[in-house]
């Protein structure tokens, strides 16, 4: 075509920061999401699927203050409006809860799964589109809703294949932390900025260490590059209870959690039957002093522990753990986190816990943006990619990679016969396909079967058709024999069988069963 010369060929390239997912990577994720959805459904949660596109106005915190709102979201202008791809599933839920508030049941339990988009500089392991999987209850003020979500999270992890003992769900309450901040003299509107700095500092404990956080609570911190981050400017008297809170609990509670998860529980242990570390509770009651919000937070924690205990969720699955902070500013009550406790080997070969795969909490102000009325809400978000990686680490997703039985083509004119063979196999529920490339080079057909991870190849030429038989090649066994060629016991094992045509399906099924 004449046009070809004018326009250069487009590059065949995934846009920067995006990914293509193939085969088992897609189906394993779908399988996992389906199992999660089944648990959510059983808990009375209803599916919700909003569109990928929202108005920038509805997304809220990304409102444009410059020429275009390119901070964090992918956005474009349409007439007078700005549209954008959603950056999470919570903002659309807040919009839906406001928009349909007269029609939805209240409380409204909903789950949502799907991609979200972040307009970030692409980097290693940082992607601009990824899946989220959320469950939230809107309109339930009672902590029974938070307890329910923790129980559901435990059931969900087990449903997808994480064994009991391989995870723990840790629960805390922001109100306890707020009580501590009150004791530190940081209550009131005029201290909002300082509270923000303190929360973000505590959330960086793992990275910065005790002294780093302490510096951020005080005057500020100079990092290795010499850059200075201004601190909250608290006095030593103010810093003391905060450090005592997160530092003391970090030490006490982590060890108590590990003891609980390990099942070592004696009369001398600090955990009571509800998974509450009574020493920690006693210390916290002392720490929050006269703070009413702090006391309310502790009461709520005990209530959550009571509810979970009544449903049989003991400290082997869910523990109260005041060291959980969670960074997001909008949490207002209980916060929780699911941590996988089994060990994996990191990139440097050192063993470490797999770590967090889900988290959430109560956020009572999101819907208010739209309606002006406060609506209580609580929810959890599962890190889909993290959880899938965990299932892979535990060997829970192999089966999905099963290739098809490949019927090879010896004689191009017998395509109808080969098609009849795959039909029979498929009708018997066996994944199967006929080779549809150029059949001339038979070696290419076997290479193709190899690339497809085919467990079996079917071979039939003129001789086979004349005698009413087919050749069945066990490719899994064939590979084993090739690998062990020097061993006597493998030498004479046949990996190819001639069977009557009408026994093909039966034999294929038997071989597949043996390979399983």
């Amino acid at each position: 075509m004449a046009k070809d010369k004018k326009q250069p060929r487009p590059k065949a390239q995934t846009p920067k920061g995006f990914q293509d997912y193939f085969g088992a990577d897609v189906t394993a994720r779908n399988d996992m999401l389906r199992k999660i959805g089944e648990v959510y459904h059983r808990y009375g949660f209803d599916a919700l699927e909003t569109s990928a596109v929202e108005t920038v106005e509805a997304l809220g915190k990304f409102l444009p203050d410059v020429d275009r709102p390119n901070e964090g979201v992918f956005a474009w202008q349409e007439d007078a409006d700005w549209l954008a791809l959603r950056y999470d599933l919570t903002a659309p839920l807040a919009r839906v809860a406001a928009q349909y508030r007269n029609d939805l049941p209240s409380p409204y339990r909903r789950y949502a799964m799907g991609p979200v988009w972040r307009n970030e500089k692409p980097g290693p392991g940082r992607f601009r589109q990824f899946y989220q999987c959320d469950a939230d209850t809107v309109g339930a003020p009672s902590v029974a809703a938070d307890a329910e979500i923790c129980a559901m999270l435990a059931d969900t992890l087990e449903a997808v294949g994480i064994a009991r003992g391989d995870y723990v769900i840790r629960v805390n309450n922001r109100k306890v932390l707020n009580g501590v901040l009150e004791v530190a003299g940081l209550s009131g509107d005029d201290n909002e900025a300082k509270r923000g700095i303190v929360l973000r500092a505590i959330d960086k404990l793992d990275r910065l260490g005790l002294e780093g956080v302490r510096a951020l609570l005080g005057e500020g911190r100079k990092d290795e590059s010499g850059d200075f981050t201004k601190g909250a400017g608290l006095s030593d008297v103010q810093v003391a209870p905060i450090v005592q809170y997160f530092n003391g609990n970090k030490t006490y509670q982590r060890s108590a959690t590990i003891r609980a998860v390990s099942g070592i529980r004696t009369a001398a242990e600090v955990l009571n039957a509800k998974g509450v570390d009574v020493t920690v509770l006693r210390n916290l009651r002392a720490l929050i002093g006269e703070s009413a919000v702090g006391a309310a937070g502790l009461d709520e924690l005990e209530e959550i522990a009571d509810l979970l205990a009544a449903q049989g969720y003991g400290p082997d699955r869910i523990v109260i753990d005041p060291s959980v902070v969670r960074g997001l500013g909008y949490y207002t009550g209980p916060v929780f986190e699911a941590e996988l406790t089994f060990e994996i080997t990191d990139e440097k070969g050192r063993p470490r816990n797999f770590g967090s795969v889900a988290g959430g909490g109560r956020y009572d102000d999101l819907v208010k943006r739209f309606t002006g009325q406060s609506v209580p809400a609580t929810g959890v978000s599962i890190g889909v990619d993290r959880l899938l990686a965990a299932l892979r680490a535990k060997g829970q997703v192999d089966h999905a990679a099963q290739g098809p039985v490949v019927v090879t083509v010896m004689d191009r004119d017998r395509m109808a016969d080969y098609q009849a063979m795959v039909s029979e196999l498929r009708n018997a529920g066996i994944r199967a396909e006929v080779y549809l490339g150029n059949p001339k080079n038979f070696g290419n057909q076997l290479k193709y079967a190899d690339k497809r991870a085919a467990p079996i190849a079917i071979i039939a030429g003129g001789d086979e058709f004349d005698s009413g038989v087919v050749q069945i090649k066990d490719l899994v066994l064939g590979a084993e024999i090739a690998k062990n060629a020097s061993l006597a016991e493998w030498k004479d094992r046949p990996s190819q069988y001639e069977v009557p045509r009408d026994q093909m399906v039966t034999r294929v099924r038997a071989i597949l069963g043996g390979q399983g």
Copy 2:
């Protein structure tokens, strides 16, 4: 907060042209797609999920020739590049087939399901985000690949719940039409524009009628509003074979199809055992005269019929039908279409066939844009919303709307006991939830259960706990009794039972079974 006054509240509104999907609408679609995926997988197709975002360059026909590429796609600029939301699943496949051509098996069978986006003016029934579900084979030149996709489409329709006899897959070949165009003197590069006009005109036959199409083949057509559309400018001699082609076949073949689908097939019938209307084939051979491409097209059609017959797909499921055109310019060989033949009632109360739910064909030039090398490809796209609507019309998706058993709250202090009840129900696989709103007004709880379409409510207050029983209210039966309140036989039927606490799960299951 002081800010509230400065910023007006955002509107809680779905962006124009987009939709929110709730509950069963989400799960019914997911169920259907899962069943489709199972068939595709059994046929050896592998899942592929590309990102929603592509470079505008890779999407191709929407390259920006003005300030910004807002024709048809949602696009935005990033540095020097334009990015856009994909408008179908074929363009990303072409990109992937080019990008990974050294790693993918060849032929490459892949399926993809997911939303696509169109930047169109929103209108009734026209949405800017909707699902597509595609299966394609890239790198297989043989029409065996086309036949396979037709067979798979038949299996897919039956797997999701369309009974045999309620659908027919009609197959044609663009080459036959090209043969006719050749006879009409429209071959060669310089007639490309005219061929485009002719194809689009034929595709409008249903809407414009024979005379309208004939006008577009000639000088042009004036519509009711007086607007004039310029025609292809063909002479009467050129128009004759084209009209004879589509008009003759439309009449002959539709009736033959209907006869075949109805199962009325006698020796006097025109369809042969392979679903080929021999009269039509004879007429077509005459019509295409000396055209080599036309003859090749007819040979391919017969080969497809052979292959399908060998696999047992007779004319009750798949027929050769030269009246199928399909609008898209890029088809180069076989084209096919799945039509649901059962009747529904249209908005004016008239019966009509449900119509097309899937279509596709061979397109051999899409990958070439990237690599310069021609790669044969064929595929099918299922209209997800249309097929789902068909399943609804056939009553195939009801069960998904099942609400949860609602455990009501008579005594706020016994929340742990109510939670234990739902736990037991859920552990028995029964969808259940406790009422988490303000329990003060019991009537609100029953209204809530009604809004949730709950089949059963569990009621237990102080008396019940003291006696170790619960009340089970059958809400489905209750509604029936209310509806038939005047009938004597309904009057004394109880819809509420008191049962021992430890028999709650058993009785709930029995009642649900009876409601089934």
